[in-house]
């Protein structure tokens, strides 16, 4: 009798264990989703509030209703209006000029530096990597006053001298570019380059025709990160820009209202929304390339 009861007991125990595991798994999933939801709310809440305020009538600026009320497009018109002395449209163009120039130069220099650091074995390689790391650690605020003095001596702080904004920006973007690309290049299959060399390519041709096209996702990711870093730069731009060259970060901070001592919060929020939206669209469009570029080099195969 005991031999017949045993399988039944085991089956019941198995079912119980299965149910317990299933329940535990569901609870674990629920906790995961809850954590994700909290993170998303935490990250997106400021942006949500910015967009809600951007669409709110100026008379209801401090209305704390969490959803859009008194919706108007006037703030966006006011952001582009030049009647109060703001030049937001010009600042947007300036930011694009500075961002594209910085990204292009940083990528041109960074690709070769990263390739050499990842591919070549030369004495002092890690010394150079350490120096690049040191440069990226250097506090930007320490550079403001010496650079200000230098640029004013050579006459870069007046008129349309974009180089006063582009060159210091490159010094901050370049370490980021070199580091990201070195990690990417170091994980690439070098057998491909060796095969190209055996087929008669020079080292330069192998790099240009074989390795560079393969590195496209990494290059693309790095370029986007460099552009975002340049687009968001405020500290140096605030010191080195003129009325003609000031980028959006500075222009928004200097927005003036229609009345004296009136802080135009809703216009600032509208301008903030205009500045943020292109970045969000760019990241959403190229999400797949960015993720593959960022994770490449993270795991050794």
């Amino acid at each position: 009798m005991s031999t017949q009861a045993l399988p039944a007991t085991t089956a019941a125990a198995n079912t119980e264990t299965h149910q317990y595991r299933h329940k535990s798994q569901r609870w674990q999933n629920a906790r995961g989703y809850l954590g994700l939801a909290l993170l998303i709310i935490w990250g997106l809440a400021p942006f949500y509030w910015m967009v809600v305020t951007a669409f709110r009538d100026v008379d209801y600026t401090f209305d704390t209703t969490p959803w859009p009320t008194h919706v108007t497009m006037q703030n966006f018109q006011a952001a582009f209006s030049t009647s109060t002395g703001n030049h937001f449209g010009r600042a947007l163009v300036n930011s694009v000029i500075i961002g594209i120039s910085t990204t292009t130069i940083a990528m041109l220099v960074g690709v070769f530096a990263a390739y050499a650091l990842a591919r070549l074995d030369f004495p002092g390689k890690f010394l150079i990597l350490g120096a690049i790391l040191g440069a990226s650690m250097f506090p930007g605020v320490a550079l403001v006053s010496p650079l200000f003095q230098l640029f004013s001596n050579i006459g870069w702080l007046n008129g349309a001298n974009y180089q006063a904004l582009i060159i210091p920006n490159i010094s901050f973007v370049l370490p980021l570019t070199v580091y990201t690309l070195t990690a990417f290049f170091s994980e690439m299959p070098w057998e491909l380059e060796e095969s190209a060399r055996m087929d008669g390519c020079t080292q330069g041709q192998a790099f240009r025709k074989i390795m560079l096209p393969l590195a496209a996702p990494g290059l693309f990711t790095t370029a986007i990160l460099a552009f975002i870093s340049s687009w968001n730069e405020y500290l140096l731009s605030q010191q080195f820009s003129t009325n003609i060259t000031q980028p959006v970060t500075v222009a928004i901070a200097q927005f003036t209202g229609a009345l004296p001592r009136q802080e135009p919060y809703t216009t600032v929020m509208a301008a903030g929304t205009i500045v943020t939206v292109p970045l969000i669209i760019m990241v959403l469009l190229f999400q797949r390339a960015i993720v593959s570029g960022l994770t490449a080099g993270g795991v050794k195969g």
Binding site: G130, A131, G134
Partner: protein, 74 residues
């Protein structure tokens, strides 16, 4: 071998040398910046005592790391 964390999990002299080289690069960069600042202050005739002290500390640190790097024998 991970490029930015050389010699992870290994205690070999080559890995140690690479880690020390990385440290030497960082310290060397800051020592160079401190040197530039001290020279500029001295040339201008501004007080440079603190800057020179920072430079001295960094130079000693660079020397110690350099000695440790040399002693690895790589």
């Amino acid at each position: 071998m991970p490029l930015f964390n050389p010699g992870t999990g290994t205690g070999g002299p080559r890995a140690k040398a690479q880690r020390l080289e990385l440290l030497l690069g960082i310290l060397g960069f800051f020592a160079f910046m401190a040197l530039v600042q001290t020279v500029v202050l001295e040339v201008r005739g501004d007080p440079a005592g603190f800057s020179a002290a920072v430079l001295a500390v960094l130079v000693v640190a660079v020397w110690l790391v350099w000695r440790a790097r040399r002693n690895t024998g790589v």
